[in-house]
Symmetry: D3
Subunit: 301 residues, 6 copies
């Protein structure tokens, strides 16, 4: 068991390869499960408490009781991570996730106790490295981000088909592009786990948090902008803003801050990637987490 | 293995209890999977071909290739069912399902081959028996059925949180009630896998098929109404129609036809349950499938 | 006339029991009338001027000229109230209302002069007393608060069927619950005359005033929060906010501040009712109006 | 009592002038009441049974029990009408209405028994006579007909502010014009109690019945068109249809069929008023009711 | 003048190269102009009368009087076409258009008489030839077809920015693709002048005509389907329909019928292009217009 | 050429009367062109740089490269203006515009180089003079301002049919009125190039800039309000706000600030036109531009 990743499943720590769940688990049958994901920076876990707070909000939204406290979940998370850290190679890091499904359906109705999985997964540093050199190409698909009238985009749940359809649309035309969904009003919304920021005339703008999952990296970025004395405002944004922006970037747990080169093929920077504001923020981000984000990615080119 | 149900998972037939999938399966992580479900009547499978046709439409919508033909899937389905039939007790029947997920996520990106599960599950005849005596209580929750702008309700996929939230809302106030969702325009839409029909002045009305998953039992009911010479029309319906209807019933694979006693507490029948049109249709349905639907349910009281 | 309440109708002060209007009054035929309502605290009228200002905004919206000045209306209101005060028992108080309809339809077309009614009505202290002990159960009905595109929710008019239908829906499932309507975008809106406030991480949030009637008690509460140094923000809120809030309360002329125990059965407080922020605000409210709001209600248990 | 109209109010037949209701009646306070209205033709009542059927649908929608049967209501209606018929002058006719409010609010909560009013009112033949010579000018206001998501336009209730605001908007610019509201999707909807019909290339089109109150005169017109062999179709219509129509007319209980000369000032007929299809239908309508509708109106010029 | 195309501009026939309009023409300043376009087949003009009827509907919608009758416009159209026919090379044909702007703005307010242009333009047979061999690639952009609430898509006017933006979005990712816009409800709508048809299980479906410009070629195709005994139905269609269709094709004046190979990269045919139903209709179309549509296009490869 | 205005068209300065473009210019065929317009005050051009910045944003939105730099465009603008200034009479001023279309369509596909027009046009001082004495009458039409989902209202483009239809609606009922469009949510939006401001209780409110073209005069007004110490807030506003406002005014390049007397006939001022806040702002505006705006207009009465 030395040389393979382990995971926690319902009280057991087992090799990931043997860590399985029943197909009768409603997390599989209906995606009836919630999760949260942080990452490590140089092997050190990032803001685990904040991520667990958000996990427990998602649980509350789904009326799911994991039968574990935040403290227990934190302890198991650290345990699983520490067992897996030795497997990381140089310049690599992990995603670290907790997942809770409602349980396994029973012949006589109802479900078993919740299924709890705690696991790590290597960050896709190699797959995304070129984005830090060339910038991300964003494309807005025709389908709209699910409305809060139907399901809140703010709860992290195991239902991603809306976003998967968006990516299928976009990648069918350009395998390098990522989807930036609009919401049902036509406003810029979010990509797969990624929040968007526009820079115009030295100020930063990002969508309100209602129609999106307001990421923790998004909040970090807002805080860093404040520290750097850069105005940052939440407001409704649309394609006009995207096409006339001076710089664009996205944030996510794994991206931290990733520069965007174009939206629907319309260039969003005039000069080098990243633009000056993006660069300052990325630098501040790297300082805060203690590793050079961009260098870590570029090292995988 | 004699006395336990088996299931097919990725080429193997194994006891259901041992039939598991990785938590890294995207069917679990994202609900990125499709399925279809028919049932048996007295042990005989119902319209398997039509259900497989619909499964392959769902697969096409999700751009998923199961790496099996319809014929292969049909054969495995029959095989699994036949192995499990001896376990059925008197007056019981099975749900019979095929499920295809996009596969297991890989460390270096992408996914494995699709995961295919074929399985049976006992119908909840006991849990629902009283509905055939007392009628179903429908309640319209405040959340709206996911719009086709975001995800088509017509593809049967493993993303049910919209409907789960609807049921949580409704059952929080009345544990016996079932959710009847409205669509984003406020029209009557569908419940959890159930289509709605209103009877008014001897004619039957049911919603258009765009905002709902147009069930095969729904089509059976439409065909039976034609055979019985009862006018039946697809049209937009709303709460006014529900509150002023003479009779209401729902259809689904498992319900076949189930009478409704009220919508939001407003009685939908004046006299006995079921009303006369519902009764005629239920009789015709029973004749077609070769068992008395209502008696099968009531036998479990 | 000593022992019965009086009211003002079109220039006359008469016993309430004899105070009638024609069924041809368009206030009856079409609800074509506006009103405003304040209350007394220990017999003293509360912010009459502000309520009359709002009444005159509603009149302007409806293009209705009451043929009385604000000053005249204020004087009559005080007169009616003073005549009725002796009828109040201990721990009781009044609602105090002005109502103006467009008049009585005439055989030859058009209407008579406006009908003006000024009246008092005992507050439902007994009916609502348990809410201050147990908290209010809010349920979101499926129907949506009327959109300003059709009729402004900010004008207080005699058209309440939208809200009545909401209450009928909700009370059909739970006679103790009150309706909290969503607006046409799925945002938390308002109940019958009641504004909603959420507390999360020590801050207070309440919907923008466009889709709701921004109550005077709502403004009082905002002012009190400022005085107490508690952050309070108007923003779009939805069910995710309601399900993940730390505390919830509603405000209205009669409620002042009433604690909420659950939204759609999802508990909105972890400990005692009311939560700490609600308690501080209620205390400040009581201080301002000069009677203990909660004690007055609880005295009627 | 010979020379004055009488009305029925809660079991009593009294002179209209003395027929009053409490201002505490919720029909006044909230417009919480339903009604239906037919008319006489030459003193003979028109389709009373159909109107009572619709009244009882509205009652069911509002969950109101009038504590009278349809038969009792029919009998009282005939009685009131017969007492008032002698007061009609030549070429005059009556509107005949039943009204049911939820009752009078009580000090201790709840309401009294329902209030029932049955009454007649002279048709506005003189006020509208010129429309049959010159055609009706329709104008679409900016506000939208209340959506069924908020309140069904198909229940005849005492809440008319949406339509009153529409008329105030329109008449502020042109005192002779009438409002034709659009629904929330921008489709042609209805005016104050009036349904719209467009004629194009010899066929007739009228909006679906969901967003409108589908009048009985509307149904009469559809039936007459069928009898005359003119194609008539329910479909979504918008301003493009109105501006390019060959003829336009409206129907209502009082109008029967009234020709429209323009929509938003855009002429809807090329030649004389009424156009040929409108004329044929009006003739057939007159034949059916036994008086010449147009002549009755024109006699009042 | 022998060897150059001519056009009619405001009463003059001049060489196209000299046929100019003022930049103060509101057709330029605001796109305040209407037009219609038919084509020739082998030099013979197609359904000119129907196109002029539609032009006059567009004029009526825009309240524009061209100061010419349909007959005059028809005569000038024939005249211009006949002068230009000798310039057509083998296998070529013309678009033939009438255009009417509101006129030229004047210093003192208002505009001059309308500007009328009648002109021909060579069909883009060479640019589109490969589509008849390979099929058209349709992509749904994120922006939505302008709603009739704002401007009717059924009037052919000189305002195309909505559709131009759609094409810019789509071609930024795939230069060979064409935009298929969705309407504001997420339904399949139309491309640049092109109507869409889906074939499923031997039946044909096409969107309702309200949100689209219902082309004359669309009507031709509907009529041909009827003649061939193929069921064809107007209904709301969305991406689910597109992804699960058996065949897809578009129609327009220039395309007549053009096969579609994919929507958002999802193949819409299993075998050869065109599918069997598309082929039958294309054959019937060719028979009706007297030239082989496909051969004419393919000749330009 | 002394006595006639000149304009720049594609590199040439010619008399306006001879300054023409091809009817094949896509600026004419599709309104596929952008522009911006400033004005002179006493012959001096106003904020040309800001207007050119906005022009270049519009160009970026439309993916149009004018093949001229901002500096070149500025120089030509000044040149054209200077040539035309001598033609101005006393108390007159010019609109000054740059226009860029995508070019002229070519027989073989694609377009020529962009068409650039730079021109001046006399302000309609005489036509509008009475508005500064009597106030502007605003009327809200039934059609809605085009949604950013379809086309951004923030890019100044040659597509005005949405606004032209609004004006046709409004002026059909009242030739003196101007259209104030609502957006698709029913909020107050903008008129033809004019932004709206409401004054209530000493504060100013104006719509958010997303659904409107946020004019430079709008920004000037916001800045002036700040300088004068008057609170000014961007927020969603609707008809309730318009009907209950103390004062209303509009701003535009030509209007600067123009007082509004009524919205849909509902008076928006109690006393004299303009109200006190409007008057202060107009005075400050005049001070800033160096001429008395109101006197200039009134001089033309």
């Amino acid at each position: 068991m030395k040389n393979e990743r382990v995971a926690y499943v319902n009280g057991q720590i087992t090799p990931e390869i043997e860590a399985k769940i029943s197909y009768n688990d409603v997390g599989f049958l209906y995606g009836d499960a919630v999760f949260d994901t942080t990452r490590t920076f140089g092997g050190k876990i990032f803001r685990l408490d904040q991520h667990l707070d958000r996990l427990f909000n998602s649980l509350k939204y789904m009326r799911l009781d994991p039968l574990m406290t935040k403290e227990e979940m934190s302890a198991v998370t650290i345990d699983v991570l520490e067992r897996n850290l030795p497997l990381l190679k140089e310049n690599e890091d992990y995603w670290v996730s907790q997942r809770v499904s409602r349980g396994v359906r029973q012949d006589l109705g109802g479900v078993s106790n919740p299924t709890v999985v705690i696991e790590t997964f290597p960050l896709p540093l190699k797959q995304r490295a070129s984005l830090y050199r060339d910038g991300l190409e964003l494309v807005t698909p025709s389908i709209r981000r699910t409305s809060p009238e139907s399901q809140s985009p703010r709860a992290k749940v195991h239902n991603y088909i809306n976003i998967i359809q968006a990516d299928l649309e976009v990648k069918s035309q350009n395998a390098n592009a990522s989807a930036l969904l609009l919401d049902v009003h036509g406003n810029l919304c979010e990509g797969n786990g990624a929040n968007i920021f526009l820079v115009k005339d030295g100020e930063i703008f990002t969508p309100h948090e209602q129609y999106i999952l307001a990421g923790i990296s998004r909040q970090v970025t807002i805080d860093l902008a404040h520290e750097l004395g850069i105005n940052i405002t939440e407001k409704n944004l649309d394609l006009y803003d995207a096409y006339t922006a001076d710089e664009i970037f996205v944030t996510s747990t794994s991206y931290c801050i990733c520069p965007v080169v174009s939206v629907n093929g319309s260039k969003s920077v005039n000069g080098d990637i990243p633009g000056p504001v993006t660069k300052r923020l990325t630098g501040a981000y790297s300082g805060m987490v203690g590793i050079d984000i961009v260098e870590q990615y570029l090292a995988h080119l």
